[in-house]
């Protein structure tokens, strides 16, 4: 391990873990550390999700020549915090004929599956909660669990709009899951590993994967961004929510904090899709051209966050530019365009690697 690159806060976590191990038996200490990491991640990404909501509102305002939230706190920075506080303190209303158990379970399904995916991301060389050797596989598996929560929400609400929204979500996720998986597989062909930290390691010498794999990589990136936007149920693929058609889609009957869970999960999912793209295409926490590689104190997290924010901005740009697709257009795009292109692309990538045409 290269200790010169270890950044200061992680020394603090090391001290804390040493301290916990010194006061407890080993098993109890490892469980305590797991709980502490889970709570830290929960708090971190709840706040990050709130600030993504604020970013979305600001970006939306600028796209529409407005100013955006600017009253609560300086430049409106506390706006979403205030909103969350309000939602926490609100009464949880529900209709009479709901399926109580599933209705209450659904938001947790959605938010937990979103937060679970965060565990495997390497935010910097040291800052990774759970480095498993099937990281990419884990991500694909987890990111499609969220749709069960959406289906449960729509079904248990006993509301026709909620059910329509949930069913649309089901067909959309099942369709676009293929494209996400195949475009990730295209990149896995190039790296030869599923472990996220090793995927980044492979980019340290040969340049980012989007450059290493040139043409097939760029096609895979474009397909991944389109399919990823569809996976997160964001405009132009927001048939699931479709305010103008379905009220609020699957979360029509939810209020207060349960609604906020769905809302937060959408933004955390956006973060996840962008993070996968950053790891697979843009070198994760590696700095461009290695400009900060020899500066020991420079936080590698900075580059990761900058790249993720760039891709999130791209997804917001999609949202505020394109109109919503119809259901048949959605399926045409996936089954007649993205999927065949993806299959061709994976063959192209295989040929590129076979003939050693990678850069």
């Amino acid at each position: 391990m290269n200790f010169t690159q270890m950044i200061i806060p992680l020394n603090i976590t090391k001290t804390i873990s040493d301290w916990i191990y010194s006061i407890m038996p080993e098993t109890a200490a490892s469980y305590t550390i797991m709980v502490i990491i889970a709570v830290a991640y929960l708090a971190l990404f709840a706040v990050a999700g709130l600030y993504l909501v604020l970013l979305e509102r600001k970006v939306a305002a600028w796209f529409q020549l407005r100013i955006g939230p600017n009253r609560v706190g300086p430049w409106g920075l506390l706006q979403t915090m205030a909103d969350a506080l309000k939602l926490v303190s609100k009464e949880l209303t529900s209709t009479i004929k709901i399926d109580k158990f599933l209705y209450n379970l659904a938001p947790y399904f959605v938010i937990v599956s979103a937060l679970m995916a965060m565990a495997v991301f390497p935010f910097s060389e040291q800052f990774q909660a759970f480095d498993i050797n099937i990281g990419v596989f884990f991500l694909i598996a987890i990111s499609s669990i969220g749709v069960i929560g959406i289906l449960l929400a729509g079904w248990s609400s006993n509301n026709k709009y909620a059910l329509i929204g949930a069913m649309r979500s089901g067909l959309q996720t099942i369709s676009y899951e293929l494209s996400v998986g195949l475009s990730i597989l295209t990149m896995v062909l190039l790296t030869g590993t599923l472990q996220l930290s090793e995927i980044i390691e492979a980019q340290r010498t040969g340049g980012w994967l989007i450059l290493q794999g040139h043409v097939p990589s760029i096609i895979a990136f474009m397909i991944f961004m389109v399919a990823g936007t569809a996976e997160t149920n964001r405009a132009p693929f927001d048939l699931v929510e479709a305010e103008s058609e379905l009220g609020a889609g699957f979360h029509t009957e939810y209020s207060g904090m349960k609604f906020a869970y769905f809302f937060l999960a959408e933004f955390i999912n956006m973060f996840i899709i962008s993070s996968i793209a950053v790891v697979l295409f843009f070198g994760g926490w590696l700095s461009p051209f290695g400009i900060t590689e020899n500066i020991a104190w420079f936080p590698q997290v900075f580059w990761f966050i900058i790249k993720v924010l760039g891709l999130i901005f791209l997804m917001m740009w999609f949202r505020w530019t394109f109109p919503r697709l119809r259901v048949d257009q959605l399926l045409t795009l996936e089954w007649k365009y993205l999927l065949p292109l993806n299959l061709m692309n994976i063959v192209l990538m295989a040929i590129v690697i076979w003939l050693n045409w990678t850069i």
Partner: protein, 158 residues
């Protein structure tokens, strides 16, 4: 091979759309159209065709253009305008002549349709840009448009 040309066309048109919105995004800081209303109360200027309330402009000598023809009262679809008028002897010609006593305007009933202003033959009433019309007592919304002691400008009805 329309399949691939379709894809090319699709991507091209999507990028065109994104360049348009991207341009807006970049220029948003300068061109924001939001009015920060209570803060810019002094400088806020409503646009020319804004329909705030009906007023009757008077000149420096407290003269207006209203001849009391009642066209506005007839044009008004819901009776927001009432004109109390009288006849008085014109000192120059010695003839009896119609003149307004009170031009009463019920702002609380007005739908801002503008038919009275279209109907007015002498442009005696116009739109004013004032929109801060909230009051604690609804009787304050019944306004008398002609100022006390005012009279019609000479030569308007000829």
């Amino acid at each position: 091979m329309s399949y691939f040309s379709d894809i090319y066309k699709g991507i091209k048109t999507l990028l065109t759309g994104m360049s348009v919105t991207g341009g807006y995004f970049i220029r948003a800081r300068k061109g924001a159209i939001t009015q920060q209303y209570p803060d810019n109360r002094e400088t806020l200027k409503m646009f020319d065709r804004f329909r705030g309330e009906v007023v009757m402009p008077h000149n420096a000598d407290n003269r207006h253009y209203c001849t009391g023809c009642q066209s506005c009262e007839i044009a008004c679809p819901n009776g927001s305008i009432e004109i109390i008028w009288d006849r008085a002897v014109d000192p120059e010609t010695g003839k009896k002549k119609k003149k307004i006593d009170k031009h009463i305007y019920h702002l609380s009933m007005c739908t801002m349709c503008g038919l009275c202003i279209e109907a007015c033959p002498t442009d005696a009433i116009v739109w004013a840009p004032n929109f801060e019309n909230s009051v604690y007592d609804r009787s304050k919304l019944t306004k008398i448009l002609n100022q006390p002691g005012s009279s019609v400008l000479d030569g308007i009805e000829d």
